[in-house]
């Protein structure tokens, strides 16, 4: 299906910070052929003095930037926090809010529990004013071993278990449903065929066969290809579940499936303002390897189709690598910079590291060159053997931006029962510096025509002493606007997250906001991370 965007043409609306995480803000350009000053048409004879005149970007490349990892940031001080995965972080009206998934230690104590391992998880909640000092509220929702807890969902609070949960705020929903949960739900020891027949009217045949598990038979072989271990609880049925809340604390679980898809590990969702639809990112499988899929719906309670796979590991990765998680976010304030921090799972050594992928529409994704951006720490450190990103990207102080991560001392699949494991942390970048447009020598490029608000332009850039950046503004005919030409441009030499662009000392763009314009750059030994009109 085509993305129902309102159009796909120039000028491109820019509002808020814009990042160079793909080529959307670099005009592809063209090459013209000229005899002297005269352009020669494609179907005309070529005079002997015909020369090419490329009007195309050159000397630039994209390079994903590696984050600094900081952690653990949230203490493990409750008995239900035996394992610890940070799922969602939100900067919500001045407060950092975190929802994290725990497997309580009674799962490892040999107790007979009504939930299978992995589906008796609980969702706990904490909040903070600075992202480092956290409050864990004592809530009455679900006591554990006689104590009040900060558990807000899962076990008896959920009609159908929970696994791989994420939380999002739905700006267009009624107040009672302002917050939503999405996760993989499960039920054990039920008649799978009866369950399937019950939901046939709702989903037709569009049910993932992997949702119906029993030992032996076809399912065992299927899992063998996938690399899973072949030891599963009998007669499990899985689906995508949801819950609604007015405040992110009090949740009402939806008993019916939203979709019948086997999406174990982090499932994410958001309300897409442009599409006027909910968009979810799920785990899918392609020839025995984990991938990321995407699905959309107008009704959160009913997703009409299972996901289309939209991201797989590149062929340059190891043949046993999987895309384990998606960690899909929109860059804050941008509205249209879709990012994922997918963890590539290396079966080779049972570890994960997170990469950066970008998209202009959330459907078509590119791996940003530069390798992993969230890397493991030293062996033995809290993140020394395994690390993956959770959902969310939030400001940290005034100058930094952070993605929540879960780090592990041990490899991903072992050991999980010997001692508490999993620690939350931050992957931190300087604000806007997720990816650099790098100029190793000299380079030039121009943006497409932009439609902006404001009267000044600032750059997020790093230019060393011998380097320089100059900026020119061009009209729709790609002609320099008088007063804003390269000749008028002040040389920019700085390492700044927010450096004003000036022409003969003046930053004011006057009335140019009323007309589409292109921004052209001349650069030498520079890194450019983003720009913003204000």
């Amino acid at each position: 299906m085509r993305t129902p965007l309102p159009g796909q043409l120039e000028p491109m609306a820019v509002q808020g910070p814009q990042l160079f995480v793909d080529w959307r803000y670099v005009r592809a350009g063209f090459v013209g052929w000229y005899a002297g000053d005269q352009r020669v048409g494609v179907w005309e004879p070529a005079p002997a003095n015909t020369l090419g005149a490329p009007l195309a970007p050159y000397g630039i490349r994209l390079q994903a930037q590696c984050a600094e990892t900081v952690g653990p940031i949230l203490p493990r001080d409750k008995p239900w926090e035996y394992t610890y995965h940070i799922n969602t972080v939100m900067y919500d009206e001045g407060v950092y809010r975190v929802w994290y998934e725990c497997i309580p230690n009674d799962h490892f104590g040999g107790k007979a529990l009504p939930w299978a391992l992995g589906h008796g998880n609980v969702l706990a909640y904490a909040e903070s004013d600075d992202g480092f000092t956290w409050r864990k509220p004592r809530l009455d929702f679900m006591p554990y071993e006689g104590q009040a807890t900060n558990i807000v969902y899962g076990r008896q609070l959920s009609p159908n278990g929970q696994h791989g949960v994420s939380v999002f705020k739905d700006p267009h929903a009624p107040a009672a449903e302002r917050y939503k949960l999405i996760y993989m739900a499960a039920a054990s020891d039920i008649d799978a065929e009866q369950w399937r027949a019950r939901y046939q009217d709702r989903f037709g045949d569009d049910m993932d066969p992997m949702c119906f598990r029993k030992s032996g038979g076809q399912e065992r072989r299927q899992l063998g290809v996938s690399g899973h271990l072949e030891k599963r609880t009998h007669n499990m049925v899985y689906w995508i579940g949801g819950a609604l809340s007015p405040d992110g604390l009090h949740w009402k679980g939806l008993p019916d499936p939203l979709m019948v898809q086997f999406s174990d590990t982090l499932t994410t969702c958001y309300w897409d303002q442009a599409l006027q639809r909910y968009v979810g990112y799920f785990r899918t499988w392609l020839y025995g390897r984990r991938c990321v899929g995407r699905a959309v719906t107008e009704d959160f309670r009913y997703w009409p189709s299972t996901p289309d796979t939209i991201l797989q590991a590149p062929l340059t990765s190891h043949p046993s690598d999987d895309v384990y998680t998606n960690a899909k976010v929109l860059y804050p304030g941008s509205g249209n910079i879709h990012l994922m921090f997918p963890a590539l799972y290396h079966r080779l050594d049972d570890s994960r590291e997170a990469y950066l992928t970008s998209s202009i529409d959330g459907i078509h994704w590119q791996w940003v060159p530069g390798g992993p951006v969230i890397r493991r720490g030293k062996l033995g450190d809290w993140n020394g053997s395994d690390i993956a990103a959770g959902q969310g990207i939030v400001p940290l102080g005034t100058d930094r931006i952070a993605v929540p991560v879960s780090g592990y001392v041990h490899p991903h699949k072992y050991p999980r029962g010997s001692e508490p494991f999993g620690a939350p942390g931050w992957a931190v970048w300087d604000k806007g510096r997720l990816c650099a447009l790098v100029v190793d020598d000299c380079g030039e490029f121009a943006t497409p025509d932009l439609h902006f608000q404001g009267n000044a332009l600032s750059l997020n850039l790093r230019v060393r002493e011998a380097g320089v950046v100059r900026v020119e503004l061009r009209d729709e005919a790609q002609q320099p606007i008088p007063g804003y030409t390269f000749a008028d441009a002040d040389p920019l030499v700085a390492d700044s997250l927010d450096y004003p662009v000036t022409w003969r000392g003046q930053p004011n763009l006057g009335s140019l906001a009323d007309q589409p314009l292109s921004v052209a750059f001349q650069l030498r030994k520079a890194e450019l991370f983003g720009f913003e009109f204000r």
Partner: protein, 521 residues
């Protein structure tokens, strides 16, 4: 959308070959953490960290994929008849009987015709007297009724529509109106090219851009479908095929990756978006050849390519002998120098694509050569009688947008000797296992090359992973040297020793070797 069919082993093979153009046939492997007694304690284990050890089964190691560069050959078709000035091939189809080709002929007096060719070996081309088109008062020629730019054979089509053809076209307002009556609102806004003057070029009947279709009983007499198959801005190569497995037609289009237009009062100029958009590849599928939905964008320029490089054409084809392994050979147009290279992408379902490491596989020739300006590949990837793979391409003597008043062009082959298109390489020591497949035959040959101290060994196992008695590594005869068709042997045995309908897993040990494909005989 998830397939409602069960996934997993054993895989079906659509042909006799098992190529390595992606990781589809390479088992990702599994592993576990095991305690001293050999118990699996993965995930749920509660021992100390050092009390369990990682043990992998069929974990691929020491291998990588690498596309191979093609060898240039051409022109492979030269003007022969007195009236021929420029002759090219746009589509070549390979059948058991030989080769059929469709192309164009520009005559010495400046006329342009569609033309039909046949060949037994893919090298010597005949011009059958089709007898359909009068030229210079004579029908003894190979000119045919007009068709589009690409042709495919439709095994499911009725006898009078056994061949089908597709091309970009510009339709009239009347044709568009008829289309809209059938499909209200189902068009792409970019396709409304009011800036195009109808009749300016031979393919500009109007100014509504879309895909045109033709049908034919024999590939010579063509009937044009009046209305667009879909109204989308597909302004270069359009290629289709009938997918036997899905029972649907699949078409690959020129598509565009462009940003979202602001909500603005600024005047909309048709085609202005071309300046900022990047050419890309789209795909649509349909049960009805006369109606395709708007294509989905399935391949866009990579972020590690230069920002002025775009995907100009798609050249969709399949791996010879493995029709379920889909290939694209897009022409990458570099607007920095107006030349092109040919890249390679692969897919196991035609929807999700991966770029091949090592790409591009072919480049524009040296300046001054017949193909020294720009090159564009055409379907299909052929297997010549000597085992070489050949991809037809058109070479131009000047860059793509250079003034074309005096330009010349011709057809060549990008050749991969011995069918060595893409290698699974073990630069040092490597191991991997395939997924289980249902073999179409009991004997195997490998297309492989090893260094002097290198080798390849094969073990055959059943679906449960256990080696078939007598077909283990211990009995495997090492394969050494440059071997396009090396028989796999185990102490003199060549048969796999499987019961009918039984699946097989193949395990490989490689030392300084490249493996190109496996073939069941």
């Amino acid at each position: 959308m998830s397939s409602t069919q069960p996934s997993g082993e054993p895989y079906r093979l659509a042909g006799r070959r098992l190529p390595f153009v992606n990781w589809y046939y390479v088992r990702p492997g599994r592993f576990g953490w095991y305690d001293a007694a050999g118990n699996d304690v993965t995930v749920s284990g509660n021992l100390d960290a050092a009390a369990a050890h990682y043990r992998a089964v069929d974990r691929p190691t020491g291998i990588r994929l690498m596309a191979q560069p093609a060898v240039r050959q051409g022109p492979i078709l030269q003007p022969e008849r007195p009236f021929e000035k420029i002759v090219t091939l746009n589509t070549v189809i390979q059948t058991e009987a030989g080769f059929q080709a469709w192309g164009r002929c520009q005559t010495a007096d400046g006329q342009k015709f569609f033309a039909y060719y046949t060949s037994e070996d893919g090298r010597q081309w005949r011009r059958p007297h089709v007898g359909l088109i009068d030229y210079a008062g004579n029908r003894a020629n190979h000119f045919i009724e007009p068709n589009g730019g690409s042709v495919f054979f439709d095994p499911a089509g009725p006898p009078d529509e056994r061949y089908k053809s597709l091309a970009e076209a510009y339709f009239s307002e009347a044709q568009f109106a008829a289309y809209l009556r059938r499909r209200p609102g189902d068009f792409e806004h970019k396709a409304l090219r009011t800036d195009v003057q109808p009749g300016n070029y031979w393919w500009h009947g109007g100014n509504i851009c879309g895909a045109r279709g033709w049908v034919s009983p024999d590939g010579q007499r063509w009937t044009e479908i009046d209305e667009p198959l879909v109204v989308t801005h597909t302004d270069t190569q359009v290629i289709g095929y009938y997918d036997v497995h899905m029972g649907k037609y699949v078409v690959y289009f020129r598509d565009w990756l462009v940003g979202e237009r602001a909500n603005t009062d600024a005047e909309y100029t048709p085609a202005a978006w071309i300046g900022v958009g990047r050419r890309a590849i789209g795909r649509a599928e349909s049960s009805d050849f006369r109606n395709f939905p708007l294509p989905d964008l399935i391949l866009t320029p990579r972020l590690d390519q230069r920002p002025n490089q775009v995907l100009y054409t798609n050249c969709k084809t399949v791996f010879p002998g493995a029709p379920d392994q889909h290939l694209l050979f897009p022409a990458i147009w570099d607007m920095g120098d107006d030349t092109t290279t040919i890249d390679l992408a692969s897919s196991s379902d035609g929807r999700m694509w991966n770029w091949a490491p090592g790409t591009p596989v072919f480049a524009t020739g040296p300046a001054g050569a017949w193909d020294g300006g720009a090159i564009f590949a055409h379907p299909n990837l052929l297997e010549l009688p000597n085992g070489d793979f050949a991809l037809p391409y058109t070479g131009y003597d000047v860059p793509h947008k250079y003034p074309r008043g005096q330009f010349t062009y011709a057809t060549g082959y990008a050749l991969w000797p011995h069918g060595r298109l893409m290698a699974l390489e073990a630069p040092e020591r490597g191991e991997f296992a395939t997924v289980a497949v249902l073999p179409p035959a009991q004997r195997l040959v490998l297309n492989t090359i090893t260094q002097r101290a290198g080798f390849v060994q094969v073990e055959a196992a059943r679906l449960d992973g256990q080696p078939i008695p007598g077909r283990s590594f211990a009995e495997a005869v090492p394969i050494v040297g440059d071997q396009p068709r090396a028989a796999v042997r185990w102490h003199g045995q060549e048969e796999l020793g499987l019961a009918a309908g039984e699946a097989v897993i193949l395990r490989f040990r490689m030392e300084r070797a490249s493996l190109f494909f496996v073939e069941f005989l």
